[in-house]
């Protein structure tokens, strides 16, 4: 297992190098000049030329790339063109908040989604199954933007139960986590339901029931464990996606996470901030994928990575 993890970590290096190159080059192809964004509405050519020089934007591309790679090798993601703050500090300040939101959304999704899925599969066609199907339809077809605003209107403006937006304790976390996790709840519920139906129809479940195992144990231990692989896949993919910053959710709920940071950086053509965030987020994604693979092995003894 540790050999597998080591190999995967080594393999992720070329992936990240690829990300580095693409992130660097794409930004030079994309329209929009960082200096133009810096100077605001009114400027003059001389100022722009001096700033370009100051930011080394006139150096040949390979020289700029060399500087950038040299910085990264030292763990330095550079400083923002716009704010002059170190990118590393900016990212480390925001990532825990994104992590908190993603974690809460996933927790909510796992608890609600898997429960709903298991209960639906347990009595297919029953009330809970139909209720679950309704929830799943809503969760998948409603855009997060709209749901987010509705949640704010209902729970904050009308009922005064929760704050509309901002960052703070649990009270601030509930609405954005719900908005963000809703799609996952829906997916997980459907995914769990079909995997559980397969498992519950399998011979070993019949055997277990025949030898008198309690229904709870049959469902919980024999069937659910076998249905876990697709559930883990969905969880891993969604978690990876949420960690890379849930732009819409963070924007609607004024959540000071990485998603908003990246959007602002893009709007202002803040090249070091965009590149640094993309690199960091890719590393996070690679890590989450690795954890997902490890979780497969934990959930299913037949999966080995010898």
């Amino acid at each position: 297992m540790s050999a597998f993890i080591l190999r995967r970590l080594l393999l992720s290096i070329p992936t990240l190098v690829g990300v580095l190159v693409v992130a660097f080059l794409l930004l030079f192809v994309a329209p929009g000049d960082p200096v133009m964004a810096m100077v605001g509405e009114r400027a003059d050519e001389a100022t722009i030329a001096r700033l370009r020089q100051e930011l080394r934007l006139d150096d040949p591309l390979y020289v700029q790339f060399g500087h950038y790679v040299a910085g990264i090798a030292k763990g330095d993601l550079g400083r923002s063109y716009i704010t002059n703050r170190p990118i590393r500090k900016d990212i480390l300040e925001r990532f825990p908040k994104t992590l908190q939101l993603a974690g809460a959304a996933m927790l909510l999704a796992t608890v609600c989604g898997v429960t709903l899925g298991v209960l639906s599969a347990w009595r297919p066609g029953g009330f809970i199954d139909r209720f679950g199907l309704g929830i799943a339809y809503l969760g998948i077809s409603f855009p997060v933007y709209w749901v987010g605003l509705l949640l704010i209107l209902l729970f904050a403006v009308t009922l005064h139960w929760l704050p509309p937006s901002g960052f703070g304790g649990v009270r601030y976390l509930i609405l954005p986590a719900l908005a963000l996790g809703m799609r996952s709840i829906a997916f997980l519920a459907r995914m769990t339901r079909s995997a559980m139906l397969d498992a519950l129809g399998a011979d070993y479940v019949r055997t277990a029931r025949a030898k008198g195992v309690r229904e709870g144990l049959v469902v919980g231990r024999h069937a659910l464990r076998n249905a876990l692989i697709p559930i883990i896949t969905v969880l891993g993919l969604d978690f990876g996606a949420y960690l890379t910053g849930s732009i819409l959710t963070e924007t609607i709920f004024s959540w000071p996470g990485l998603g908003r940071y990246v959007v602002n950086a893009i709007a202002r053509r803040d090249l070091p901030a965009i590149q640094g965030s993309v690199l960091f987020l890719s590393a996070v994604f690679v890590l989450v994928n690795l954890l997902t693979d490890i979780a497969y092995a934990k959930a299913d003894p037949r999966v080995t990575y010898a």
Binding site: E41, R42, P163, P164, S165, S254, P256, N264
Partner: protein
């Protein structure tokens, strides 16, 4: 699974305790900023959120009042030489920075030097360029600034390149604020100024919290603290306002009508003649647009009244010229281009385009401007002007316009300082083509010389007359489709006293603003005060300590 549900119930119940704490707050909360300030270093002040905050923390030699007149700031008075090119500023004595450093004349020089120093990477030196030698210093051609001197601790003498009568207005811009002479590397995060407020903490993309500077020379702020929240989604800001969590809101353009038609909400509105022109820049150097008749036809082809009334709920004034009606030099009697398709077609025929013209109309992704662009497309079609819409993200659209690649570009212009010169010169003077702000690439020697002369003119009456005349000349040349001057709508909670929406963004320091609930009492979190009449019923709610709302 039952265990999970059992576990989550108390959490939910806990979460449901109390919502908006409305009038019980002693912190003033502003919700007008929708992105994080760039920095708190005045030298980096190039955007509105930054400028606003710099105005809380720092002072300039002059400052704006909310209704946009210029009054003394750190300078108590100034003398101007008879030819108008030497300014002697007499500085306020006994002022200290919040770290105790005394304010002296030398700091004026070092602050402005930093603004112009390319290694500070501010990018906005132009307000100081009128000073002799400032441009040379910024361009790296000189090691000091010839036109600035501090003969003693309380006098600054500024020599200008040429007379520039409105120079004191430029010194009230955030970028010209005075900082200590030695600033640490993290000054943008840990600013020290002489302003009415001190920074308590800055949670990026979340809020900035300020405490009063009790020693402020202009009188300490009356409230306990001020919080500027960063809310990027306008609908969320509205929800926060409706929940009573924020005191001042900029009503989103898309929601103006809802607010105007709601009897309760309408009472909270304070319209402000913001110095903002919304227009369509016509690039006067491209194809058929070189012909003034085609440009006039574009103006006649559009029903601006309908655009103003239907798209932004009439919150503004139709423009006939670039000078907002709030500023001297504007002309309310000038008759704007009326909607007249016959006239438009006739002008096109006279210009040699009987079959109409094909143009590209650029817009940013701002939803209002996209709608305006679509409406314009429809109107122009009626007169045989076929327009292809090109929508780009705002930085990209602006860059294309600056490079002269756009035929027509829907855009706006906010004043940096309240003077007609701030519209005429950057938007239409040929010295500012492209990045300077003149994306119409308009060039008319008569206009240029009139505007240049007005900048030198010391007599205000004459200067204003020149503004009016220059505006008239450009208006006939139609380098833009004149749309409207937007009137900003600010919503203010009923429990707030003393907040006057400023005409220019950095002119409201909140020093005289109070909440009606601000009676003396213990400042502990959740301390309940009596609910004043006319406010929302507020439950005494322990504020979550982590929000930092109660320092």
């Amino acid at each position: 699974m039952r265990r999970f549900i059992a576990l989550s119930l108390p959490v939910l119940l806990l979460a449901c305790g109390g919502g908006g704490d409305g009038a019980n707050r002693r912190t003033l909360v502003d919700a007008r900023d929708n992105y994080d300030p760039r920095s708190l270093d005045p030298a980096l002040s190039t955007d509105v959120p930054t400028g606003r905050v710099v105005g809380y923390l720092f002072d300039g030699l002059t400052r704006f009042t909310p209704d946009a007149s210029v009054v003394p700031g750190l300078a108590t008075s100034w003398d101007v030489s008879p030819d108008g090119s030497v300014y002697t500023f007499h500085l306020r004595r006994g002022v200290r920075f919040t770290d105790g450093t005394p304010f002296v004349a030398r700091q004026v020089l070092t602050s402005w030097q930093r603004v112009l120093d390319p290694s500070v990477r501010g990018g906005r030196g132009w307000p100081l360029y009128p000073i002799k030698g400032a441009k040379e210093y910024a361009d790296g051609k000189a090691t000091s600034i010839a036109g600035m001197a501090a003969p003693n601790d309380s006098t600054v003498v500024v020599t200008l390149k040429e007379p520039f009568a409105i120079f004191p207005k430029l010194l009230a811009m955030p970028v010209a604020s005075i900082a200590p002479d030695k600033v640490p590397a993290n000054f943008g995060e840990a600013p020290v100024g002489t302003g009415p407020w001190k920074l308590v903490e800055w949670k990026h993309d979340d809020y900035l919290l300020f405490a009063p500077n009790r020693e402020y020379w202009g009188g300490a702020p009356k409230a306990d603290s001020l919080k500027a929240r960063i809310i990027s989604e306008p609908s969320t800001a509205v929800a926060e306002f409706q929940s009573g969590n924020v005191d001042v809101l900029q009503v989103p353009q898309g929601e103006i009508r809802d607010w105007q038609e709601d009897a309760e909400r309408r009472k909270l509105l304070a319209p402000t003649p913001s110095l903002e022109l919304v227009y369509v820049a016509i690039n006067t150097t491209r194809g058929p647009l070189k012909d003034v008749r085609v440009r006039q036809a574009l103006n006649y082809a559009v029903d601006r009244r309908i655009i103003l009334r239907n798209l932004i709920a009439g919150s503004g004034d139709l423009a006939a010229g670039v000078i907002p009606f709030h500023l001297p030099g504007s002309d309310r009697t000038r008759i704007g281009y009326a909607f007249d398709t016959t006239r438009a077609r006739q002008l096109l025929r006279e210009a040699g385009y009987p079959n109409g013209v094909d143009l590209e109309l650029w817009t940013s992704a701002n939803p209002i401007y996209v709608r305006i662009a679509e409406t314009l497309q429809g109107y122009l079609q009626l007169s045989g002007i076929r327009v292809k819409l090109i929508q780009r993200e705002s930085a990209a659209a602006r860059e294309a316009a600056r490079k002269g690649q756009t035929d027509l570009f829907v855009k706006d212009w906010y004043a940096d300082y309240p003077d007609a010169e701030n519209f005429l010169y950057p938007l239409l003077h040929s010295a500012n083509k492209g990045v300077g702000g003149n994306v119409s690439y308009y060039s008319n020697p008569q206009f240029d010389s009139l505007v240049s002369a007005s900048r030198r003119e010391q007599d205000e009456t004459k200067r204003v007359a020149m503004y009016r005349q220059a505006d008239e000349i450009a208006f006939r040349d139609a380098p833009m489709i004149y749309l409207y001057f937007y009137s900003e709508l600010t919503a203010i909670q009923p429990w707030i006293r003393g907040f006057v929406p400023p005409v220019i963004f950095n002119a409201q320091p909140w020093t005289n603003v109070t909440t009606t609930a601000a009676s003396p009492g213990p400042r502990t979190a959740g301390a309940s005060t009596s609910t004043p009449p006319g406010t929302m019923p507020a439950t005494p709610t322990p504020a979550p300590a982590s929000t930092g709302a109660h320092p």
